[in-house]
Symmetry: C2
Subunit: 348 residues, 2 copies
């Protein structure tokens, strides 16, 4: 399924097309715009995506799959990642419509659409596939601690919260590194990253004893690259998801971390009684945790200045640089060349 050559995607967002709920849709539009033929969203139908999410100019938003068939889509991509990963019931009809019209389905939900009898039957009847991106296709081994023995430079993004810019930062680092002639590979560890890249393992969906093993496998399978830009997950101090974060840190054994943060966010997303911690606390904690498995340093701070003016963002970047003595940037507003400067001397 991930080998679809000329994919023509319809993305389902169904009234939740915003920068917070539709992370998957927004990221696929940002990095694979040429693959997207339409969005299905009854609430936003008729609008231009640019007016809603700031990107995706010209992609039509239609109320139902049927309204996009003239654009010859070949797959429906589920564009949201709700907490818990469950399928909102009202979306069933869109999925069955898509299957009946011969579209493949690409889903990153925790519940596997392949496990649904009706969906599976329709997919069989119409000779299309359901790609449950979160379902690891390969056998995942237990961790052995061997990622540290590879020569490749492993740079992992970590964060002060979930959904704060780790995937975007890792993708931007990959692109900027390639422009400087570095043989770099983006390593996807979550459903959206996998949808964009076509490969990877959703580490939040493996059996928990195997998190580090999955991260290690991602590194060992790509050890021929000079640079692995590894997508981080969650945060080390999250009441629900910290285990995934730590397993990924220890399994991938990075030499360097980029800490992602959003200056305007004061509490954890969906967990309002947990404040975001000071950067100094997080830097110390990540480095101390990594140390016994493989020592690494935080190399830079990636600031998600969404909603701030460029001037305010620049001021904040300068403030963080003074505070942490580390290079800081907003990858979307100002690029990541500062990070490449820090990474370059460490390359094998």
């Amino acid at each position: 399924m991930n080998s679809i050559q000329n994919r023509r995607l319809v993305i389902l967002t169904e009234g939740r097309l915003d920068l917070f709920s539709a992370k998957t849709a927004v990221s696929v539009i940002r990095y694979c715009k040429e693959d997207v033929v339409a969005l299905v969203d009854r609430v936003n139908a008729g609008n231009d995506p640019e007016s809603v999410i700031g990107i995706g100019k010209g992609i039509p938003i239609v109320p139902a799959i049927g309204d996009a068939l003239h654009l010859k889509p070949n797959a429906l991509l589920i564009g949201i990642a709700p907490p818990g990963g469950m399928l909102p019931p009202e979306w069933r009809k869109h999925i069955t419509d898509a299957l009946r019209n011969g579209l493949h389905i690409i889903s990153g939900l925790h519940c596997h659409l392949n496990d649904d009898r009706e969906f599976r039957q329709l997919a069989n009847e119409h000779h299309v596939k359901i790609w449950d991106v979160r379902n690891p296709s390969d056998e995942i081994p237990l961790g052995t601690g061997k990622a540290k023995n590879t020569r490749t430079l492993r740079i992992l993004t970590v964060g002060s919260d979930c959904n704060i810019g780790k995937m975007v930062t890792s993708i931007e680092i990959t692109g900027a590194a390639r422009q400087r002639g570095i043989n770099a590979c983006f390593v996807a560890t979550g459903q959206t990253g996998i949808m964009i890249d076509g490969s990877g393992i959703a580490v939040d969906h493996v059996v928990s004893d195997f998190i580090s093993g999955a991260a290690e496998k991602l590194v060992l399978d790509r050890a021929q690259y000079q640079l692995l830009s590894i997508e981080g997950q969650g945060t080390i101090v999250h009441p629900a998801y910290s285990g995934v974060t730590l397993g990924l840190l220890h399994g991938s054994a990075p030499q360097g971390l980029i800490l992602c943060h959003q200056p305007t966010r004061k509490t954890l997303r969906h967990f309002n009684d947990f404040p975001i911690l000071p950067l100094s606390y997080l830097i110390d904690l990540y480095e101390k945790l990594a140390q016994p498995v493989y020592p690494c340093r935080v190399l830079g701070i990636s600031l998600n200045c969404f909603g701030m003016t460029d001037r305010d963002a620049l001021q904040e970047i300068q403030r963080v640089e003074r505070e942490t003595k580390l290079p800081a940037t907003d990858p979307i507003k100002f690029g990541v060349s500062k990070f490449i400067d820090s990474i370059h001397p460490l390359l094998p």
Copy 2:
């Protein structure tokens, strides 16, 4: 299956009856000796378990299931937990023999015996059950961060390595607390603990996004107790299993930790190039990690002085008490009343 009233167990160890490989067998013998009618182990057949593992005096060791049938067993318990949890192929015959003779099967392996067609068919034919202890029977929710709001005193064991005494310490604390009139509950989080207690969730086997949710559910479901003595898993600095450790810490939101350590162990078990860290580093790291989710303190050090003389053990305990300024003991050699002294003032 966990509701078997008068269980009469045959435990399979098959040549691996020692304190390291047969953790499950040893612990079930230690805490449920009255349930065990025989061990199946060709290599050790004819010996007394006490001469091999120091406990279990008088339990016959036989070479095959057939040799134990006169003792009227009603279940075969798989007594080892190999790394990776896979079933050694030579054990198949023992399992099919047991099923053919009408014994239930109790297994904590990662691979579910219920998924094996031959086993399932035999179980159906002979009207017995296969209890895959690691397979969570209940729906596991995502974490919400709510365990911290319960009034119960939550004491979690943590460690400097895997297989170092966390379960034993948690069970011993439960027993000693009850003897002092405290309404205490052991909370099993691994297959052996579940086999002993009859309830719990194997947190290393849930989907990794749900580790904290599983730990939180264990607490919320038992919030009526004064004291929850929660079995820890792994160690926070383990190259393969740290994610489980951290998810359990944040999900269960303990007020107090007991740090388990083995003085004679210098490197991680099965991971010889990873040294065991100083206690001070571990105490600092566990407390700093817990702090943002729910602040807790390490209340005591549980030392596994296996293989040391009582005199050497006492000396080591005193040395650790001076070094850490915390009460220390070996639960098996000297009991855990020191820990109960520390816990008592914190009770609701």
